[in-house]
Symmetry: C2
Subunit: 242 residues, 2 copies
């Protein structure tokens, strides 16, 4: 993590705010004020940030690392709904309504978060009403992604969905290297399976196929090298789902 060269240690408080679009309309002074009411937390891999059915009263911003949000289905499987990483926020559900959390959130690696309490967030909204619009836009964005995901789930072919997932990961977690794009996978094979709603073994087999076709190269369990993006896009179905 890079150090801010203007404000030193205190700057950590502002970093997370700079990462979320919600606050993009505010001035530096406003941000400084907001920074003072932020709480910080660290979690280790596997730790639970909060559980389905709990009533957490905070908006949480991921500052470093990544987390998964999942529900347990009636047949006992884990259905992953989101992978949140740097700059994403969650828990907003609980800031307005009386609702309890709809999912469990667990750290996929060491994670640092910034959070607002419900109260301080309400103050914030009162002081800066334009934030509400930003939140609506962000929620719209999220709904849009979910609609695409739902559409993808409706598509029968598992191939499409795996390819679409890889493209999605490539965008979020990929770095350009000479041979193509190196994707640092936030999820294990099992995690990907739980995200896609398929069996672990199926993910292995499909990735194996893609590797045989020369589209990807598996690189241990933690990363994948994407060699031929256009082939993958074709395999994901020409229209950009996910």
């Amino acid at each position: 993590m890079e150090k801010c060269d203007v404000c030193g240690a205190q700057c950590l408080h502002k970093l997370c705010m700079h990462k979320v679009p919600i606050f993009s309309s505010l001035s530096q002074d406003d941000l400084t004020h907001i920074a003072s009411i932020i709480r910080h937390k660290k979690y280790q891999k596997g730790e639970t940030l909060f559980s389905e059915g709990n009533r957490p009263d905070a908006l949480v911003i991921v500052n470093e690392g990544s987390v998964k949000a999942f529900k347990i289905t009636s047949d006992g499987r884990e259905q992953i709904l989101y992978v949140f990483s740097e700059g994403d926020f969650f828990g907003e559900r609980n800031l307005f309504g009386r609702q309890v959390s709809a999912y469990t959130v667990e750290a996929l690696e060491p994670v640092k978060t910034c959070s607002f309490t419900k109260e301080s967030f309400h103050e914030l909204l009162h002081a800066y009403p334009e934030i509400a619009i930003k939140i609506i836009e962000e929620l719209e964005e999220r709904i849009s992604r979910m609609e695409s995901a739902l559409q993808s789930m409706g598509v029968r072919s598992i191939d499409n969905r795996i390819s679409a997932l890889l493209l999605d990961f490539a965008e979020k977690y990929g770095t350009s290297v000479p041979d193509g794009t190196l994707i640092h996978l936030p999820l294990s094979r099992e995690g990907m399976a739980n995200y896609l709603g398929v069996a672990r073994e199926t993910v292995s087999r499909k990735l194996g196929l893609l590797e045989n076709e020369g589209i990807i190269r598996s690189n241990g369990n933690k990363s994948i090298l994407l060699l031929d993006r256009s082939m993958l896009e074709a395999s994901a179905g020409k229209s950009a789902d996910f």
Copy 2:
């Protein structure tokens, strides 16, 4: 549709507002003012309200009837994302961002709508900022439902999903009768199939099974009598998805 007994024909303008929670915090005077900027439209069954990729600039409230919102998947199927009926609204996506519509909306039966133009809605937001919070709550609600739907899609068993869909319909479109709950189906078998992302024939077969088990009684193509709700809930998986 029942006539309002206080204000006569003019009242139609307010009816739709009374149906949506967005405006629940406003006074009668405010509502009267708002009513003056509402536009009304009628559509016949099968008519398209707007198409995927269009750039409609209105918030639309369904006042009577129901509509489906769907995308066409890369393999040419129609994936239904929502069924909106009396009191639901859509098109809000386009009011803030520069986004185009993510889906096509089509009338499932004769439909009457109320709509705001983008401009008048912005005025409204400016005049009544509390509406923004209501919208956020409504979006949260919608996200919550989509998360459940995503979870259901992830569940392998089609039985679960069909049962969950019937329960959902029972709640929205059901009326109590001596033998149980009579569900007026908004969608045809094919529509249900496109909603669930399965084949038409599979829906038929599964409904046939449920009928053999005495859980439902099919009543033509337009309605279903739900005889044993608890059995259906069991079949949907005990936790309330959908």
